[in-house]
């Protein structure tokens, strides 16, 4: 099988009812034609998808993304939707099924609500609330939530934290040109990274963060640091006007 690809001509009209996917030409024994036509034929049951290898089509799509400058996001996502549909259909076709493939059009079996089983619970809660209404507690001080007390950071203010982030941002390199790359780390992964580099003794960010980094990396890194402080896994203090960070002391 071979696939060829050319950047589609500007043609917003589509057989799919959405933006036309890029012109990826599919050539194999079972089918020859564009990706959009393949979609239509598979949808209408005119092509046996088991005879159409999908990996080369995905590769052609990937190549389209990498090579074309100023990719039209609508067209690219239309192709992605078509590929996802084809992959799902093929996956179903490969599965040994005894019965018919479930149709999306078939309504789900209606689920009988069973809220009536909670009636005793609701009555019990009502009784408890009524009982509770007979006693009075000291109301929470205005301005603070009883269960959402702000984290005590000592002398450190939000302004100090903001200034520390600003200083890091000033040292950051500009963002590299927009290219396809691996997705960024999750926040929890970044927190693990920050935990690894935080020293047990207080140190300034200049000493902790070394090497080259971009602005988005800094923002992500600092967000992870703030989350660690909130969780009590990192400490912060002001020392001679300098904000310093360290690992939390474990008992």
């Amino acid at each position: 099988m071979s696939t060829t690809r050319e950047i589609a001509k500007p043609d917003p009209v589509t057989a799919l009812g959405v933006t036309q996917p890029p012109e990826i030409l599919v050539e194999c024994e079972a089918f020859t034609g564009s990706l959009a036509t393949l979609f239509l034929c598979v949808r209408d049951g005119k092509v046996d998808l088991l005879g159409v290898p999908l990996a080369p089509i995905c590769e052609a799509y990937w190549q389209y993304l990498v090579e074309s400058s100023g990719t039209d996001i609508d067209r690219a996502s239309a192709a992605l939707a078509v590929l996802a549909y084809l992959l799902e259909r093929k996956a179903w076709a490969l599965l040994p099924t005894e019965g018919d493939e479930p149709s999306e059009m078939e309504p789900d079996e209606p689920v009988e609500p069973w809220i009536h089983e909670f009636a005793p619970a609701i009555e019990a809660l009502k009784a408890l609330a009524e009982q509770r209404g007979q006693v009075f507690f000291r109301p929470p001080e205005s301005g603070t939530e009883a269960y959402e007390l702000p984290l005590d950071l000592g002398d450190v203010t939000l302004f100090d934290l903001s200034r520390a982030l600003q200083r890091l941002l000033e040292k950051a390199k500009p963002e590299p040109p927009d290219t396809l790359r691996k997705p960024a780390r999750s926040l929890s992964e970044m927190m693990t990274v920050v935990l690894r580099v935080l020293p047990p003794e207080f140190a300034s960010l200049d000493r902790i963060v070394t090497g080259e980094f971009t602005r988005s990396e800094v923002v992500w890194w600092f967000l992870a640091l703030l989350e660690l402080i909130r969780l009590g896994q990192a400490r912060v203090r002001l020392h001679e006007g300098e904000i310093e960070f360290a690992l939390a002391v474990t008992a």
């Binding site: 609701i122 809660l125 929890s188």
Partner: protein, 184 residues
């Protein structure tokens, strides 16, 4: 040092339940001394005071006795926070089945519950407790300390048992993940 008096002073100003550990830390004495003092204070208030010491929402707090409710209410004019039937339904489902997703609550009630869920989140009776390991990673909801306080409960084990045993799970396999911010 008279620990009893220190405990009483702190509980007088406390506007939220105080845990024995926190009281001991504030006073600077062992926890067992605080617990002894709490027991004595509870006994004393029970016999000779319009106030009482209650265990609520995981701590201790001083409140008025029910027999003074009318006059206190006339004076304090507390803001009434009535819970409608639909809010109570959702609250009961979450309280007894937590952690649950919005879809699971909908399935039990047979109607959309998003409005009630938001109302209960706004009132801090419910909170997000994690995400379910399922397609779309839906939010799991649970009750809060505020819930325990409003319903005069020390913890969830004090929820009154209901006659009929409810299913252990709602819908498919229910596995509460750790919060997204917790580290292993």
């Amino acid at each position: 040092m008279n620990v009893l008096r220190h405990v009483e002073a702190i509980l007088f100003v406390a506007d939220a339940p105080a845990k024995p550990d926190d009281l001991a830390k504030a006073i600077g004495c062992p926890v067992y001394e605080v617990e002894e003092a709490l027991e004595k204070l509870g006994g004393r208030l029970h016999h000779d005071s319009p106030l009482q010491l209650v265990r609520i929402a995981g701590g201790y707090q001083v409140c008025t006795k029910p027999e003074y409710a009318e006059s206190v209410a006339r004076f304090a004019k507390p803001q009434k926070t009535r819970l409608s039937r639909s809010l109570l339904e959702v609250l009961a489902i979450v309280a007894y089945q937590q952690p649950v997703t919005a879809a699971e609550v909908d399935a039990v009630r047979g109607v959309d519950s998003s409005y009630a869920l938001h109302q209960l989140l706004d009132r801090r009776l419910l909170t997000e407790v994690g995400r379910k390991k399922a397609p779309g990673r839906p939010v799991l909801y649970g009750t809060t300390q505020q819930f325990l306080h409003i319903f005069n409960l020390e913890d969830l084990t004090e929820l009154p048992p209901i006659d009929r045993a409810l299913p252990q799970t709602v819908g498919e396999d229910r596995v509460a993940e750790q919060g997204v911010f917790s580290l292993e």
